[in-house]
Amino acid sequence: MKVELEADKCVASGQCVLAAMDVFDQDDDGIAILLEEQVGEDRLDDVKEAVAVCPAAAIRLVEQ
C-alpha cells in the first residue's frame, strides 16, 4: 500500500510518529515527513493507526 501525506494540512501533533516511528518523522517545525511511501503488510496496522489518530486527517492509505 502507498502512504500519502498532505503536508499542508499537518498540524504538527506528532501522533503519526508515535504510531509508526519507522514510517513518519517530523521536521523542525513539527510538520510530518514520510520516511517510507510504500508499506508492506507487516507495517499496515501501525500506519492505519496513524491514519486514524491524525488530528488533521492528513494521511491516507492508497491501494495500488
Binding site: 504538527a12 508515535l18 523542525d28 513539527g30 488530528p55
Partner: protein, 395 residues
C-alpha cells in the same frame, strides 16, 4: 453481534465505525448524525475556515469512496431523541427506532449560550461560515470568552482587519487550565496587537447593540461571538437509565452499560493513567476514544483494554502554535523547563502531586516536546524529570 448503532457522525463516531469494520465486524452498522453533512473536521472551523484560507470541501474527514467502503447505514440530518436500553432501541427524530445489539454514543457537545438573540457560536460549519461572511475589515466584533476557541477566533478576526474586543470573566485567561503565567503570556499576545482584551468582565446578555456587562455597561458591536464553553449532548438520554453527570459516565473501558460505550466530547470516563475521571474535548482524544470504544465493544470481557491516553491538543493564535500534552487541570505547579515565556518560545511542565502530568509548548521543535510527553505517559516523577532538565526548580 449483528446490529451496531453509532450515534454521532463526527470524529469519534467515524473512528468507532471505521474501527468496527477494521476489527472484522460485518453486521449492520448504522451511523447517525444530526447534521446533514458527511463527517467533517472541526478544529479548522476557528482557524482556516474562519480565515477563508480553506473552502469547506477540505474539511471532509474521508473521501466519498472511503466512506462508501465502510458499508454504512448512514442516517444524516436526523438527531437521536431517545434510548430504550430495555428493548435496545435508539429513537430518531424522524420517528424511526433503531434496534441494536451494541451502541456507541458519540453525540459531542453544544455551545453554551448567553441570554439574548443574535450572537454567533462556533461549533458547526454553518456557524463558521455565518461568522466568516461578517468579518470584514473595520467591523467591530465582541468575543465573549478568552478560552482557546475565543482566542483563536479573535486572532483570525484581528488578522482580517476586524476591531476585536475580547471579554473574559476570569482575571487571567485560561489560568485555571494552564496556569497564571502562561495565561498571562497568551493574554499579552492579544494586547500587543491591539485586541482589546478585558479580563474580570462578566457579560450578562447579548443585545441589539452588542453585549451588556454585569455593571450595566453596554459594549457596542456589529457581531458578537459567544465562546464560553460547551455542554455535553446528553438530553436524549434522559430516562435511559444511563448515568449522566457532565457527560455520559463510563468506566475505564469507555463502557456506560452492557454493550453501550461512549466516546469523544460527550464521554466522561476514568483514565487510569491519571487516576481520575475526565471528559476531554480534544480532536485527538475523540479519534482515539472512538477506536478504543469500538474495540472494547467487540472484545470479550477479559480482553477489554482500559483507555489510558495522554490527551493532546493544539491551538493556533497569531504566529504561535501552542501544543499541550497531558491533563493540565488542577495542577499544583507550573515551571518553564526550556526557553522563555517572554520570547513566546518555551516548554512549561505541570506537576500534580509528585508526578509530571502535563506539558505545554509554544514554538518548540518536536524533540523538546516529545520527551515531556514520554514523561507523562510513563508516570515519571516530577523530581526526576525536572531536576535533570533545569538546574534550579522554581516554585
Amino acid at each position: 453481534m449483528r446490529r451496531i448503532v453509532v450515534v454521532g457522525a463526527s470524529a469519534a463516531g467515524l473512528a468507532a465505525a471505521e474501527t468496527l469494520r477494521r476489527e472484522g465486524y460485518d453486521g449492520t452498522l448504522t451511523l447517525v448524525g444530526d447534521e446533514p453533512l458527511a463527517p467533517y473536521d472541526r478544529p479548522p472551523l476557528s482557524k482556516q475556515i474562519l480565515a477563508a484560507e480553506w473552502e469547506p470541501e477540505r474539511l471532509a474527514l474521508r473521501t466519498p469512496d472511503t466512506l462508501a467502503a465502510l458499508d454504512l447505514d448512514l442516517r444524516l440530518g436526523v438527531a437521536a431523541t431517545g434510548l430504550e436500553p430495555a428493548d435496545r432501541t435508539v429513537g430518531l427524530a424522524d420517528g424511526s427506532a433503531l434496534p441494536y445489539d451494541g451502541l456507541v454514543i458519540a453525540t459531542g457537545v453544544r455551545p453554551r449560550r448567553l441570554p439574548g438573540e443574535g450572537a454567533h457560536v462556533l461549533r458547526t460549519l454553518d456557524d463558521a461560515l455565518a461568522l466568516r461572511e461578517r468579518l470584514t475589515p473595520g467591523r467591530r466584533l465582541v468575543v465573549v470568552g478568552a478560552g482557546f476557541l475565543g482566542a483563536e477566533a479573535a486572532a483570525v478576526a484581528w488578522q482580517l482587519g476586524v476591531h476585536v474586543t475580547l471579554l473574559e470573566p476570569a482575571p487571567v485567561p485560561l489560568a485555571h487550565a494552564i496556569g497564571t503565567e502562561v495565561g498571562q503570556m497568551l493574554g499579552q499576545a492579544h494586547l500587543k496587537r491591539g485586541v482589546d482584551l478585558r479580563c474580570g468582565v462578566t457579560v450578562t446578555e447579548v443585545t441589539d447593540a452588542g453585549v451588556r456587562l454585569g455593571d450595566g455597561e453596554v459594549i457596542e458591536a456589529d457581531e458578537v461571538l459567544v465562546a464560553i464553553g460547551s455542554l455535553p449532548n446528553t438530553r436524549w438520554l434522559d430516562g435511559s437509565g444511563l448515568t449522566v453527570g457532565d457527560g455520559v459516565v463510563c468506566d475505564e473501558y469507555c463502557r456506560a452499560a452492557e454493550n453501550v460505550y461512549a466516546a469523544g466530547d460527550v464521554a466522561r470516563w476514568y483514565n487510569p493513567l491519571f487516576g481520575t475521571s475526565m471528559r476531554i474535548e480534544h480532536r485527538t482524544t475523540a479519534a482515539e476514544q472512538g477506536m478504543a470504544a469500538a474495540r472494547n465493544l467487540l472484545a470479550a470481557p477479559q480482553a477489554r483494554k482500559p483507555f489510558a491516553p495522554v490527551p493532546y491538543f493544539w491551538s493556533d493564535q497569531y504566529d504561535m502554535k501552542i501544543q499541550a500534552f497531558g491533563y493540565l487541570r488542577g495542577h499544583d505547579e507550573v515551571t518553564v523547563v526550556e526557553g522563555d515565556l517572554a520570547d513566546s518560545r518555551f516548554v512549561a511542565a505541570y506537576r500534580s502531586g509528585d508526578r509530571v502530568t502535563g506539558a505545554l509548548a509554544v514554538g518548540m521543535p518536536p524533540k523538546a516536546i516529545r520527551q515531556w510527553r514520554q514523561a507523562i505517559a510513563t508516570g515519571a516523577t516530577w523530581h526526576d524529570s525536572v531536576s535533570t532538565t533545569v538546574p534550579a526548580v522554581e516554585s
